[in-house]
Symmetry: C2
Subunit: 211 residues, 2 copies
């Protein structure tokens, strides 16, 4: 179950690494997330240089694509040669965006409902792109999701694991990242953030008992 | 206000980057966190190669030192030449550890109370090192703190900001990382995790009104 975490120059470390690490907790179950970038090396918003694991073209091979956030997203969405390298297909892939990643999905035309989540700083730009921004951490419609606020990336990862896996996968992964003594609380909060959107897309209430 | 985030080979991405990013949210107020490592490059537990910002020796210049976690901590604490490069002084510095970082502080002899937090996987090793492990995400005594579970690193960062700064600093930083729509809840939970230890160390109830 390959997952591409799209990570650009100026990236927010949490917006890429929270979902990356959570999904990689399930490596033994066949899941793997990859830092996926336009270049071999990218620098974070705080100046950390990292080596990417996959090129942007990898996104079209992944079962899920999560678009990270950063300080240069406005430049990225206006870079047509870079944007043309991102091929997404919501019919057969899960597609999610974190914070300013929502702008990337907006530009790629995959946010068909016209409603999205993003962080408070990116909000004016997302509105300008023609979307309504919700005052909540997570929203999904079918195979496309958006999240706002760095730590909401745990909900994006939860959604991917619920949609492509099971509640058991979610629990196994979150159990290893939640604060000690608050594990059940963290799992319940994450399930409750994504539950309404798992129901509406599949037509069944798979996790109704859990939240 | 320089903060060293000690980051070794095999490091857990969240255990270093959550506190790193949160503290760097206060750059404009004079705070800065640095990825501080034994070598110029270190590889994460999931294989991400990053370039460190400071050598280990930087730890003794920092106002706060947070020891990250990873898959190679047992090797690290047994590497006497590496350990001898880490000079910490809890009389004049704040010192914190995240998950298996607790083993590093145990070996360095700075956990004088004999009580600590760590993650569930490291717990047996911490007990073997002679400490009692608490079933809670955060514990501090004076200038030394430990946290368990990756996302408890937000509490470690909160403690540093409260001790060296103010509740206003905590709120400013957490506001930019909490999930949208859950900001006040995240701030309250973080303040409540550290509040008992701010009180007991300073003798005043600086944040009693807040939690």
């Amino acid at each position: 179950m390959p997952v591409a975490v799209l990570t650009f120059d100026g990236f927010n470390e949490l917006d890429s690494f929270v979902s990356y690490l959570i999904i990689n907790r399930l490596k033994a179950r066949g899941w793997q997330a990859f830092i996926t970038s336009p270049n071999e090396h990218v620098a974070s918003m705080n100046g950390i240089n990292i080596q990417a694991e996959k090129p942007l073209e990898f996104a079209q091979e992944a079962d899920a694509v999560l678009v990270g956030s950063g300080t240069k997203t406005l430049d990225i969405v206006n870079d047509s040669s870079l944007m043309s390298r991102i091929k997404l297909n919501p019919d057969i892939q899960l597609i999610g965006a974190q914070c300013s990643g929502t702008l990337v999905l907006s530009r790629l035309g995959v946010l068909e409902t016209g409603v999205a989540c993003t962080d408070l700083k990116t909000k004016p730009w997302v509105i300008e792109s023609g979307l309504e921004v919700l005052n909540q951490p997570f929203f999904a419609d079918g195979n496309v999701a958006t999240a706002g606020g760095c730590l909401a990336s745990q909900y994006l990862a939860t959604w991917v694991m619920m949609k492509l896996g099971s509640q058991r996968d979610v629990e196994a992964a979150l159990r290893t990242v939640a604060p000690v003594g608050q594990i059940e609380e963290y799992i319940a909060r994450a399930l409750s953030a994504v539950a309404p959107y798992i129901r509406s897309s599949s037509g069944v209430s798979a996790i109704a008992d859990a939240v």
